[in-house]
């Protein structure tokens, strides 16, 4: 089992109209600096490899990079931490995302085929397991049902200081994810984790597609 390459992942997301935070893949310091200039700070950088599923645990992700100095330090750290690892595609440079953290995913079930998952990111999924599922294909009403089904739904509609997210667009993403997982039979599982959403947009920060 391996992850789909970054390039192919990006293409697939584009094909299914799934928004992704602006991300570039680079293979040199010069290209990194150029990409940073294009994207603007704050940034995140991470090692990309189809063999590495859990990047954070292996210290292969550095976030909230505010300037060129931090960027270069981060670059050297990633080079050091990734020493000896196989099949490195390059370093991903990514605009830091803002908004409410979500998780969307899919899994091919032996009995039901592709199953779609939705939840809020962080402790909501890790600790509280506040997530909902539907069998693909999902209609708009199914997507809305699975969004409303989670206990933290109120947070999505805006709660105290927490701004609301564009629920219609979240539903749209779930529908597109459903289509993607149905039409690409080789896919075993998909994690969009995290996804960041606010009132204007819903964007995938990290996409893992297991084939």
């Amino acid at each position: 089992m391996a992850l789909l390459s970054f390039k192919k992942t990006k293409q697939l997301l584009k094909k299914y109209k799934i928004g992704m935070v602006k991300t570039e893949i680079v293979d040199s310091k010069e290209k990194l600096l150029f990409a940073a200039k294009k994207l603007g700070f704050p940034l995140a950088i991470k090692i990309s490899s189809p063999k590495i599923i859990h990047k954070t645990e292996k210290k292969l992700v550095i976030t909230y990079i505010k300037n060129k100095n931090e960027l270069l330090n981060g670059f050297y750290t990633l080079i050091k931490n990734s020493k000896g690892l196989d099949e490195i595609e390059g370093i991903l440079v990514q605009k830091m995302a803002t908004g409410t953290e979500l998780i969307c995913g899919a899994k091919k079930d032996d009995v039901f085929g592709p199953v779609i998952m939705f939840g809020l990111g962080g402790i909501f999924v890790e600790v509280l397991k506040d997530i909902s599922f539907r069998i693909a294909p999902i209609k708009n009403s199914d997507a809305m049902d699975m969004i409303k089904e989670i206990k933290a739904y109120k947070i999505l509609t805006g709660y105290r200081n927490h701004p609301a997210v564009n629920i219609k667009k979240v539903a749209e993403m779930l529908k597109n994810l459903s289509l993607l997982s149905l039409e690409n039979k080789a896919i075993k599982a998909i994690d969009f984790n995290p996804v960041f959403a606010d009132k204007n947009k819903v964007e995938v920060v990290d996409a893992k597609i297991l084939i």
């Binding site: 998780i103 999924v125 397991k129 599922f133 539907r134 069998i135 599982a189």
Partner: protein
């Protein structure tokens, strides 16, 4: 379908006099329907079984056979299956175990058996199942302990033993079934086929499912969705604690456990999910009896006992049913009826107080039914010395007929002394439960029934 639920001729292969055996149990059960159909016992080693002449093989029976029941050990079954195929029966139930449930060898045998029957266009039920019971046609092609009463619930169960106990319970509590189906390993006919059969079956009003696993998930959702519109389906899924494969490396894959996926599938099919056997039977019974479904989520509770009303209201809130506030017109009508005690608090739940005679139930139901946003009423009766259970039941039944569009669910709480009232409700097809929780749950199911 008639040839399965009401066959003209049945052959039992493996009929025996040996007490305590499966073959003996089925022989006895089949004879209950001997006035309605021809029954042939096949046993090459015994001349008679239960004083009836036996046949050495199904092929030595001259008459046409609709249904063959096979209850002989799996290691000697192959020849028999070939004969059954040759006999061109419509249906075969294989009760015997020793197939895919035992491992690879059993799976091979099951495939062979299924292929032989399929080629001969014989519909196969089983193997490794309890069989089929159709109370209305006195057809008990099973080794269940007794014949249940005829009723509106179609019960499909992956477990045979569960059916046995449910049959006994149903006899004790006085409700019945349109059919009870145990399909075991489902080598040919499976859950999807039986759902389609019950969809078309006139006697079946609701469907109760006990499932542990299904094979074709998507097909199941599609069919269940369609069937559920005509015959509401209630499901109890066993094996809920099975977690997703631990080896899964992605979040979604590790979080997507068996229970969550099945539950999502049931939701998408519109199936009502329950957690216990009592709930399964209670809800499917309610759905099979109630003539109408609630058109909205707001209901009313009428009770002659405060606490019972409170418990029902708590459950209503938990299950997301709303108690419609009584509007001014309703309160005015209640007051001017002059049958309620001065201390009555005209709110919902409406407590008509412990000393309530039938007239209070009558007025309360009649007036609340007229309020537009009350779509169904739960009527609770606790037992006081002045409570007239029979008269209450008669009055409630009459009002249920008057307001056909809005369901009434009763909760006559008690036992021996309450039974005469419960029996009247049963006769008039008013769902009744001993526990407010089950009454509210059944009402919830009635709203979802669309």
């Amino acid at each position: 379908m008639n040839s399965l639920f009401n066959p003209k001729a049945i052959a039992l292969i493996g009929a025996t006099d040996r007490k305590g055996s499966v073959g003996f149990g089925i022989s006895k059960n089949l004879l209950e329907g001997k006035a309605r159909r021809k029954i042939f016992f096949v046993n090459p080693y015994q001349k008679t079984v239960l004083k009836r002449k036996t046949y050495p093989s199904i092929l030595s029976i001259k008459e046409k056979i609709d249904l063959a029941i096979i209850a002989i050990p799996s290691n000697v079954i192959l020849e028999t299956v070939k004969e059954v195929a040759k006999k061109k029966v419509n249906w075969a139930i294989i009760i015997s175990s020793g197939f895919s449930e035992t491992g690879k060898e059993g799976s091979e045998l099951q495939k062979k058996v299924a292929a032989i029957l399929k080629k001969a266009k014989v519909g196969l039920i089983g193997p490794n199942c309890l069989g089929i019971i159709r109370p209305s046609s006195k057809m008990n092609a099973s080794f269940a302990p007794a014949m249940p009463k005829s009723g509106g619930i179609g019960f499909i169960s992956q477990s045979g033993a569960l059916i046995d106990s449910v049959v006994d319970q149903s006899l004790f509590e006085g409700y019945g079934f349109s059919s009870l189906i145990s399909y075991g390993n489902g080598a040919d006919l499976n859950i999807c086929d039986f759902l389609k059969i019950l969809e078309k079956d006139k006697e079946t009003k609701s469907i109760a499912l006990y499932l542990e696993s299904i094979k074709e998930g998507r097909k199941f959702i599609e069919i269940a969705k369609k069937v559920n519109k005509k015959k509401p389906i209630v499901v109890l899924k066993g094996g809920k604690t099975m977690v997703g494969r631990k080896a899964a490396s992605l979040h979604t894959a590790s979080l997507a456990g068996n229970e969550k996926i099945y539950s999502a599938a049931f939701k998408q099919a519109g199936i009502f999910q329950v957690n216990t056997i009592s709930e399964l039977l209670a809800v499917s019974l309610g759905l099979s009896m109630a003539k109408s479904c609630a058109k909205g989520k707001s209901i009313a509770i009428i009770t002659n006992g405060g606490a019972a009303g409170v418990i029902a209201a708590d459950w209503a809130e938990k299950l997301k049913l709303f108690l419609a506030p009584l509007d001014k017109k309703t309160i005015k009508k209640l007051k001017s009826s002059k049958v309620f005690s001065k201390s009555t608090n005209f709110s919902n739940p409406l407590d008509i107080i412990g000393d309530a005679l039938t007239i209070r139930y009558k007025k309360a139901i009649d007036i609340l039914m007229q309020q537009k946003n009350i779509y169904g009423i739960i009527v609770i009766q606790t037992l006081q010395i002045m409570t007239d259970v029979k008269k209450n039941a008669e009055t409630i039944s009459a009002l249920a007929r008057k307001y056909k569009e809005k369901p009434i669910i009763c909760c006559f709480m008690g036992g021996k002394l309450t039974l005469p009232g419960i029996e009247i409700l049963r006769k008039k097809n008013i769902p009744n439960y001993n526990d407010p929780y089950l009454a509210v749950l059944a009402m919830k199911a009635l709203i979802r029934k669309k």
